[in-house]
Symmetry: C2
Subunit: 316 residues, 2 copies
């Protein structure tokens, strides 16, 4: 049975007390730039620095005792790795994380600090998948995919539930899309509790696989994505696309220059540290590409490298 | 009659609906670094980007109609300029701001955006004071001093009132000190509503006039201050020192290297954009220089120049 709005409600009950209820903040300068009242759901303040912790926690806590005993595993170079490591620690089981060479030292250190065992592999998708398969065989761990997983999708939707509770009625909720876990979960939450709110997905022009998938009606792969929004380079899965195709009103793409400008604007005016991927929906609002008077945005995460900011020249 | 705890309560009533009730957030990594449960009162999310808006608003709204009719004025190169400009706009009167040459273009633009009239002068205290005197004579405006003003002090104390309401009982509240307005207001709020909480002031080692004043029992000027915390270079006034001397438990000084490290830590781990001055009390906590299990911190502001971050090499 496909993942449903009821699964999002169940996820909210399951992860309560483990996830942080992040604040919803507003910023008059952003309202002026967007021509709308904008409500920012601050998932960059979530534990492990991104919404990913919601899905990972729901998936890990939802496993049967027997299934989870030998641990959980994933391949990830990004926020899911930290999220799964922390979720596994909460459940008291091992986390095996396959990371490609060249992953950010900070993200690797964070996963290690949460108790994960890191397995390094070559930086190709084939190597990541092969290495993960070996890890699963050797350890008996359960794979928790970063988005192609019903428990993960349902968990990600809980951010929108809280946003709707705290902001009140919204005309539209704007969400970035990479693999589609956050978007699918949000769509399910809004379908049940949004009182008619629309869901608009935004993605970088340099990684527009979701727009192409939406247009053609079948999942189109993300080939050679080129965008500063490193969390949004992945392809949809049939599982996330099925939900998205049913529930999403519109797709918008934004250029990298607009993403960087939006990221800087949020830092400078809203005083929030967000990563480039989180700035993608903000860029759409500042470009007046989304209709609505009361607009919710899920700020997806805040894990950045403070030595390399995209508006500054590269340091020598 | 000296400014009192009751004035802080009155200020809370007066400015309600004009100031933002900023969130209190926590950060597990900071707790671990500090060895305490730390509650961060996010005044960097205040309107105009700093707690200064509280004091300016209370002072401007507290003026009689006849006194305020010809506007308000100050000399300031920093956060008070923006705060006063916005407070004056709310009251519907003119704001005249004397700014020294070389002030940050961003801060000047922000004050202009709030409707202030800017008068530029040479970058010396004598020129600032002389120019302000001319402006006051020419316009009939009322001076609102950034800290040597009972209304301003009382307004600044409202941040601590909210912190105490939202965080629950605290062992200590840690506050940065420049001119002492925030510190004096906080001390008055805590004296009435702190249930025995202590107030500790922290200042940069390169601008340790408050520590010297505390030791000698008289106001010592800040001469040639040298610190990255540009909001804390000013001297106490007899008015702020009188409150501080009566109510503050301890003074701690921190080096600039620790301030920059704390600033970066708060950006990276708590995902909050704070200015160097706001990182000063955090540096004291991370250095284990403050005793207490439950510690409140007023993060004073978040107005920074994103092109020049203190942990990055200067760009060419």
């Amino acid at each position: 049975m496909a993942v449903s709005s009821a699964d999002v409600d169940d996820a909210a009950d399951r992860i309560r007390g483990h996830v942080r209820r992040t604040p919803v903040v507003t910023c008059a300068s952003l309202d002026a730039a967007a021509g709308a009242k904008v409500f920012l759901k601050c998932e960059q303040l979530q534990r492990a620095g991104a919404f990913k912790f919601r899905g990972a926690t729901n998936a890990v806590l939802g496993l049967d005792e027997g299934d989870v005993a030998r641990g959980v595993a994933c391949h990830s170079s990004g926020n899911h790795a930290q999220a799964l490591a922390l979720a596994a620690r909460i459940r008291g089981v091992a986390a095996h994380v396959v990371m490609p060479e060249g992953s950010s030292a900070a993200k690797r250190a964070a996963a290690v600090a949460y108790g994960a065992r890191i397995v390094v592999c070559e930086p190709t998708l084939a190597a990541r998948e092969a290495t993960l398969a070996e890890v699963l065989t050797a350890t008996g761990a359960v794979e928790i995919h970063p988005y192609d997983d019903d428990g993960v999708i349902a968990g990600q939707g809980t951010a929108a539930l809280e946003l709707l509770e705290d902001a009140g009625p919204l005309d539209v909720i704007v969400v970035p899309v990479g693999g589609g876990g956050l978007l699918a979960g949000t769509a399910l939450a809004v379908a049940a509790h949004g009182h008619g709110a629309q869901v608009v997905e935004v993605e970088p022009a340099g990684a527009d696989d979701a727009a192409r998938s939406f247009r053609t009606g079948t999942v189109q792969p993300s080939i050679d994505p080129d965008t500063v929004a490193d969390g949004l380079r992945t392809s949809l899965s049939p599982r996330t696309f099925a939900v998205i195709a049913d529930h999403v009103s519109d797709i918008v793409t934004v250029e990298d220059a607009a993403i960087v400008a939006a990221m800087r604007f949020v830092w400078e005016r809203a005083k929030l540290v967000i990563e480039a991927s989180a700035a993608v929906p903000v860029a759409a609002l500042m470009g007046r590409l989304v209709d609505g008077e009361r607009v919710g945005v899920v700020l997806s995460g805040g894990n950045v490298d403070l030595d390399h900011l995209p508006w500054l020249p590269p340091s020598s």
